[in-house]
Amino acid sequence: MTGPLADLTVVQLAGDRSAEHCGRLFADYGATVISVEQPAVPAPRPSEVDDAVRVATDRGKRGIAIDLTTPTGRGVLVDVVGQADVFVHSLRPAELAELGLGTALAGLGGLVTVSVTGFGAVGPYRNHAWSDLVCCAAGNISFGIGARDGAPLKLPLSLAGCEAGATGFLAAMAALCGTPGEDGVRPGADIDVAITDVLACMFSTGVTAFPYRGVAGRRNGNHGIALYPDVFLPCKDGFVGLVCNQLAMWLRFLELIGSPTWTDEPRYRDRRRMTEEYPEEVDAHLVPWLAERTREEIFALCRERHIPVAPAYTVGELLANQHLLDRAAFTELRLAGRSGVRVPAPPFVFSTLLPSRWVSAPRTGEHTFDVLTGVAGMSTDQVAGLYASGAVA
């Protein structure tokens, strides 16, 4: 194993993408990440895409299958976690207690635990059920996404959970960077991440402004919250995003489209009202010019003039984008019967460190024997007994 995190062992007991994603980030830079799963339960065969998403998420991890419904199985989990630096999980306090893990974990002094749940391990909603949708609602992010009169929308895909997983990762890394105490031992830490809190704290712009300015950031269709234009509009071959946070940028854009006479009217000079009160009316003035030009033409014209415009790329276009290819922004997966399938690589260029280029994910329990003998230090006979009892698989 190579990479800057190669001396770390992480045990992951994930109930959803958030904790899985946290584990993924450790594996990206070389940590040994042990994914604990229940022994194979009969399940509908996943689609090819679902299976590939699993490979992308779990690539490079070790797979161990433990039956946590048995006391022996739970004991095995504690043994494995006892040898790890980090334990990432998505168990609510009641579930942790049910598994009898609360006190066992508390006894592991130098351990860093990361709990990633919907509402956190402390607080009035600590045992609430959650999903990305529900956390996007509680976290105020849905309030700002969607058509003005339509339903509030969640973040696409599993982005909400992934943000919480990434937040858990950085807090755990800080703990691992911590200075050892007088005894030379690094103090462990318990990190409690709520998906709701990450959205409320890191993604919300209006918390402090609320008492002064009231509720802001209400969804506004294809318009953002900044002064006009903060807008997503159709053009000849797709869509472009146009943002002009400085007046000079907007004036340069108007010059580019031929300084039309409508811009003389006072109604089109108040950029705040243009965003908040009649954005569609202003859009209608821009659309004819955009409709005659492709995304790349608009992008090139605006780049020359230092106007922030971006083409809305499809994922297919991104995979062929020369700038991204030059920066090695994708990494290949090994999938059965497929070659050349790529996903985004870790998005950093370090001067001397490289990510681990993992290509495949473990089958359930693929590394049970290796982990129990290698990491947990059990004898072959002990492990054979555990297999025989059904506690591991």
Partner: protein, 419 residues
């Protein structure tokens, strides 16, 4: 007297050139973990979040060095609480030398300027590492430090389209949507902070410094594996899926009583489905063949939405969430910030904390996005330091950190190097 755990990054000093949004969110989370973050600012070109309409005019008497127009912006206070501020004129040779002296006694340098700006200011990684060989420098920019589009302009509204996310936001009924919150910036901040701590971990083991180039365009693509795989494996371009789900049904935000009030409901599996049917008082749904199993409910999600929406329409969102959570179904009100202000959850977990700003007084600012408890048993230090006024730490930096004399400090201030 209560003592507090200062945080795992206590002793780490960050010279922070970041401004506006993404960078300041990144360095704020480092401060949350105990780092000392010194924001390097300039009166000649202040952080954009210091500028704008004043939401209030403070009535307190202010010392003459405080420029009220730079100190009243709530967003600036939210992004920069718990940091220090050095205001210095970097166009002067003495100003630049002072900053390099500060780098010598620091661990990390961060910026989120356009690619190449730090080098043009004479503060590129080669210069920084020549004065502090093990420095960790992180540059966050739109397209990265190299590549044919490294000059791309990054704002939340351009990052989502560039990164492939723009075409995924919205639902099938609307033609397109954007996200009001600044997803691209905050996501980049979280990712970049993680990268910085990987480099710090490496430095603590090997002594080696690092330059880290983070492209916000690439961080925006990070969570989109499923979209990339769908396209490559099926040939179908992934589209706007709104609140639809293959794992949950029903799964939507439903209109409730009140003006623009909504509740999120997500049901997974037969057990939760039965609990929902019971809670809404429609046991007949359990035998309706359209909803016989999970696959059927997903296939008939639209019909299901009509039934659930009919039940929620005249009820209170909080009451609905209470009823459903009691039977194990995930549900919560769609919160405005006003709603969040009324939720004990955010105070108890210190997601919202009070900070007393010297110019505007007590404000609510965002706290930590996690609860961090050291196993030493000592409670974590509360977030108490307000966002700094411009140059609040000038004296501290020059006298305490750099060891210069009071006369030197006075001279630098009089000459406008510190300003």
């Amino acid at each position: 007297m209560t003592t507090f755990e200062p945080g795992p990054l206590h002793g780490l000093r960050v010279v922070d050139f970041c401004w506006v949004y993404a960078g300041p969110v990144m360095t704020r989370v480092l401060a949350d973990l105990g780092a000392e973050v010194i924001k390097v600012e300039s009166r000649k070109r202040p952080d954009g979040t210091r500028l704008g309409r004043r939401p209030l005019t403070p009535t307190v008497e202010l010392p003459p060095e405080i420029d009220i127009d730079l100190e009243c912006q709530p967003l600036n206070h939210a992004l920069n609480r718990n940091k220090r501020s050095l205001s210095v004129d970097l166009s002067t040779e003495e100003g630049r030398a002072l900053v390099l002296d500060l780098v010598k006694v620091s661990d990390v340098v961060t910026d989120n300027f356009a690619a190449g700006t730090m080098a043009r200011m004479g503060l590129g990684y080669s210069v920084l590492s020549s004065v502090k060989p093990d420095i960790i420098a992180l540059s966050l920019s739109g397209g990265g430090q190299y590549g044919r589009l490294r000059d791309v302009l990054a704002y939340a509204g351009t990052l989502a389209p560039l990164g492939g996310l723009g075409l995924l936001v919205g639902d099938a009924d609307t033609t397109y949507g954007v996200m009001s919150p600044t997803y691209g910036d905050s996501n980049a901040a979280i990712r970049a902070a993680g990268a910085l701590l990987i480099a710090l971990y490496h430095r603590r083991r090997t002594g080696e410094g690092q330059h880290i180039d983070v492209s916000e365009w690439e961080t925006t693509m990070t969570g989109l594996d499923e979209a990339f795989l769908t396209w490559q494996l099926t040939g179908n371009a992934p589209g706007r899926s709104g609140n639809t789900s293959r794992e949950f049904a029903p799964h939507n935000n439903y209109r409730t009583a009140g003006d623009d009030e909504w509740v999120a409901i997500a049901v997974r599996g037969d057990e939760q489905w039965a609990a929902l049917c019971d809670a809404v008082g429609l046991p007949a749904l359990l035998t309706d063949p359209r909803f016989a199993d999970h696959a059927a409910r997903v296939a008939n999600a639209a019909a299901l939405d009509v039934i659930v929406a009919d039940w929620t329409r005249a009820r209170d969102a909080d009451d609905i969430a209470d009823v459903l959570q009691k039977v194990g179904v995930a549900s919560f009100k769609v919160c405005s910030i006003g709603d969040q202000y009324g939720e004990e959850h955010f105070y108890q977990r210190e997601v919202f904390v009070e900070s007393e700003h010297p110019v505007v007084g007590v404000e609510i600012v965002p706290g930590r996005p996690f609860r961090y408890t050291s196993r030493s048993g000592v409670p974590p230090v509360p977030i108490s330091r307000p966002a700094p006024t411009m140059g609040e730490a000038n004296h501290y930096v020059v006298r305490d950190l750099l060891g210069a004399s009071e006369e030197t400090f006075e001279r630098l201030t009089q000459s406008g190097v510190l300003h």
